[in-house]
């Protein structure tokens, strides 16, 4: 059962469109498995609908409608949907739909980068400056390395689970950490833990003023 949800302000930023793609992806993945947040998002997006409905009317020329009408029968070039049958059962059971568009193949065939014997990582090819999006896989029953973060870290558990500072996270749980956290999560026994991890690394300036500027830089 999901017990850890994204903060309302993150859902709000998703709804308004202010979140960068990597964070929006993480929120969309959580919402596709969480009825509660799905409902919250519907409501927040309804705010946008209300603002649209009330927008003062801008003049639209008849030619603009005609222009769209002539394009209605154009064939859509790119297909936005990807049949889930292209993935094996283990993959489609683990990976929420919004993330499947970014996945080049089945989990077992991905180019996992091994970090020691107990951790492996797959980096998604999402080109948004300042962000890193990856799948992390941790071996069951092991402590993860003690670490801090340079930036914010948003973790969405996709399989297995872990405990961190007295809190337990499992499939569907959303775990946001800022740079003040130093932690050592311990992975549950029985099943490897797979998580979608989004990190926003702050820009580190090397110039002569970096010492003064860095505290004010936020991505």
């Amino acid at each position: 059962m999901i017990t850890h949800h994204p903060e309302i302000e993150l859902l709000f930023d998703y709804a308004s469109g202010a979140l960068p793609e990597p964070m929006a992806l993480s929120i969309a993945c959580h919402a596709s498995t969480c009825r509660h947040c799905c409902d919250q998002l519907h409501k927040l997006e309804e705010m946008g609908g209300a603002l649209l409905e009330d927008a003062a009317e801008g003049g639209v020329k008849a030619s603009e409608l005609e222009a769209v009408l002539t394009r209605l029968d154009d064939v859509e070039i790119k297909s936005e949907s990807l049949p889930s049958s292209t993935f094996d059962e283990a993959t489609s059971k683990t990976i929420p739909k919004p993330l499947r568009f970014y996945l080049p193949g089945n989990l077992k065939d991905l180019k996992w980068r091994h970090i020691g014997r107990k951790v492996s990582q797959y980096n998604f090819d999402i080109d948004v400056a300042g962000y890193k999006v990856s799948l992390m896989r941790f071996k069951a029953g092991t402590p993860m390395p003690i670490h801090t973060h340079k930036g914010n870290e948003a973790t969405l558990v996709l399989a297995g689970g872990y405990s961190d500072q007295g809190r337990h996270f499992e499939r569907g749980d959303f775990d946001a950490k800022d740079p003040s956290h130093t932690h050592q999560p311990i992975v549950d026994e029985g099943e490897d833990c797979i998580a979608l991890v989004v990190i926003d690394a702050p820009v580190i300036l090397a110039g002569p003023f970096s010492r003064f500027l860095n505290p004010f830089i936020k991505l």
């Binding site: 930023d13 202010a18 793609e21 596709s32 509660h36 919250q40 705010m47 649209l52 409905e53």
Partner: protein, 219 residues
């Protein structure tokens, strides 16, 4: 002559369920009194007509309702007047193509079209995707604390959200407008208004709670 009249292709019979909405066949006079008073149900019916029978008259009617609003909304968001026509066209084209995915139990027509425009704008001007979510019933981790009853209530709620949004206190409305019109994440809104982050968070929470109460009161 109105844009609808221009678009009419004389295919609709007198008894067609939409003839009330989009005027009777053969007449050049369109009942524009309906213009400003289309209800949520009528707007949803127009989208359904596109989904079910690729009805161009319904599309033209929907265009007439939304294009001026989308344009005004885009201009408020700072889209240049040169680009805003393209944004409106691309949005309405997606409305035509994705009409099958409209689900009236999930939200109003305006909510749905707002999200299409939001995603299009991010695609056009930020060159990023805005991953979409949809509750995946097939995933085995559905949050159990909301049942089908809640969904029905949620549906009844939504028709009133617009009214409720308009009656929010200024301090809350200000944050919503900054988010949806100026595309700012909550952190930037706090900096802009020179208020603590916590205040932005609590105003978002208050707005959500207030929407809930205002909507409940009117049931």
């Amino acid at each position: 002559m109105t844009v609808v009249a221009l678009a009419r292709n004389a295919s609709l019979g007198q008894n067609h369920p939409l003839s009330q909405l989009i005027g009777s066949t053969g007449s050049n006079v369109v009942d524009l009194k309906l213009e400003s008073s289309l209800t949520n149900d009528q707007l949803a019916a127009l989208i359904d007509a596109i989904a079910l029978e690729k009805n161009r008259d319904a599309f033209a009617r929907l265009f007439e309702h939304y294009a001026p609003r989308l344009k005004a909304f885009g201009l408020k968001q700072g889209v240049s007047s040169a680009k805003v026509e393209e944004l409106v066209q691309e949005t309405m084209l997606m409305v035509w193509r994705k009409s099958e995915s409209f689900d009236a139990s999930r939200g109003t027509a305006s909510n749905w079209i707002f999200t299409i425009m939001r995603n299009k704008r991010i695609d056009m001007f930020r060159r990023q995707k805005h991953p979409e979510y949809e509750l995946d019933e097939g995933m085995d981790i559905i949050d159990p604390d909301a049942g089908p009853d809640d969904q029905v209530n949620a549906f009844q709620e939504r028709a009133r959200i617009r009214e409720a949004v308009n009656s929010l206190p200024n301090a809350q409305m200000e944050i919503i407008q900054k988010a949806f019109f100026e595309d700012k994440p909550h952190g930037e809104i706090a900096a802009d208004l020179d208020i603590p982050l916590g205040t932005v968070k609590s105003r978002i929470r208050l707005a959500m709670a207030r929407l809930h109460v205002l909507v409940e009161e009117k049931v």
